[in-house]
Amino acid sequence: MSTRDIVHIALFAAFTAALGLFPPVTLPLTGVPITAQSMGPMLAGAIIGARKGFLSQALLLVLVAAGLPLLAGGRGGFGVFLGPTGGFLLGWAISAWLIGWLFERNWRNLTALKATAYIFIGGIPALYLIGTAWVAVVVDLSYMQALLANAPFVAGDLVKVAIATIVAMTVRRAYPMMARA
């Protein structure tokens, strides 16, 4: 792993943390808070690829576990991993890996439609699969019940998929990272 790879990993760990600084938007009617932070894993995977994307999110989680308040709303420490949303945090690393893997495999003939599909797959179904498993365990619900309890968050995540796709495709045109690798 080159020095440049290490810098990229640190950069996207920090970028995801910086996304948490934006104040969360609360959805009308449901009161579900939406934060920009979960775009971090989507963009990390799509821009720096599977391996580095995964490691960047893992690095962020290490810093959070060490007690730094880097998650949206200034949360951090071990408590967040044991709380109901802990599975989604671990899911970020897997999500970044999957999106990166899909992007790398199809880098040469990537279209906007494909990119949207990849970021969607990694950012919503894959992430919810992992996050929901943890919710089901800590909240003592069946998997299906936990999945339904998470459903209100999907709307916000769809918006994030759209934004992340446009950003990732524009960055790809200006600075194609994976073509060089």
């Binding site: 792993m1 080159s2 020095t3 440049r4 290490i6 810098v7 990229h8 990993i9 640190a10 950069l11 760990a13 920090a14 970028f15 943390a17 910086a18 600084l21 920009a36 963009l43 821009i47 490691l55 690095l59 962020l60 290490v62 810093l63 576990a65 060490a66 007690g67 730094l68 308040p69 880097l70 709303g73 949360r75 951090g76 420490g77 071990f78 408590g79 991993f81 044991l82 709380g83 109901p84 949303t85 800590v138 909240v139 003592d140 619900l141 019940q145 309890a149 934004i163 446009i166 950003v167 524009t170 960055v171 200006a174 600075y175 990272m177």
Partner: protein, 195 residues
């Protein structure tokens, strides 16, 4: 290093970070295995006593649980609706206890001590090709990058203001990421040139 740590001189502050982590893993597992809400409530009381021992006041304790409150209420309501109040009490008590216990470890351990303990814990990964010095480099760089990214974002927003685009997520995010990627190349070259 700025963090959630609260300075103190208590027994809990003086315990080595590694033992606190190990204790948290064991206690966390135990709390999961207990299915009696009254026993969990007993442990919750013990955790509150531990906050007292660590010299942390009630306000600090409540601040730890406050971000999870609306979720806890939602979970209780969900359990009440699907099962009964005992199930709701068990789950919410269990979660509160876990969160408070984990936060206690965070509040009484300095970030540097925690990172050192985790780096030691990751040492066996050396056999799988993980270089500990590179891990330390990545950790310290990530911390340095956060304020830097905030600065770059502020600059780009200022520039996009002239075009009336400072509120557009895309018009801000793209230039920020491009600048950061170019910067990453320069930093990598600088590190390589010096080593």
């Amino acid at each position: 290093m700025l963090g959630l740590y609260r300075h103190g001189e208590s027994v809990l502050h003086r315990l080595p970070a590694g033992s606190k982590l190990l204790g948290l893993v064991i206690a966390g597992t135990a709390i999961f295995l207990i299915a009696n809400p009254f026993h969990i409530a007993g442990i919750l009381v013990l955790v509150c006593v531990a906050y007292r021992i660590a010299g942390l006041d009630a306000r600090t304790l409540i601040a730890q649980i406050r971000p999870a409150l609306w979720l806890l209420a939602l979970i209780f309501a969900l359990q009440l609706w699907l099962n009964d109040w005992q199930a709701g009490a068990l789950v919410t008590l269990r979660l509160s206890t876990l969160i408070l216990l984990a936060s206690l470890v965070t509040l009484t351990t300095q970030v540097s001590a925690m990172l050192a303990a985790m780096e030691r814990g990751l040492a066996p990964l050396r056999h799988f090709g993980v270089d500990p010095s590179r891990v330390s480099l990545a950790l310290s760089m990530a911390l340095r990058f956060i304020p830097l990214i905030a600065d770059v974002t502020a600059q780009v927003r200022e520039a996009q203001k002239a075009r009336g685009l400072e509120r557009s997520v895309i018009a801000v995010a793209v230039p920020v990421i491009l600048r950061l990627l170019k910067m990453a190349d320069d930093i990598a070259d600088a590190i390589d040139a010096r080593s």
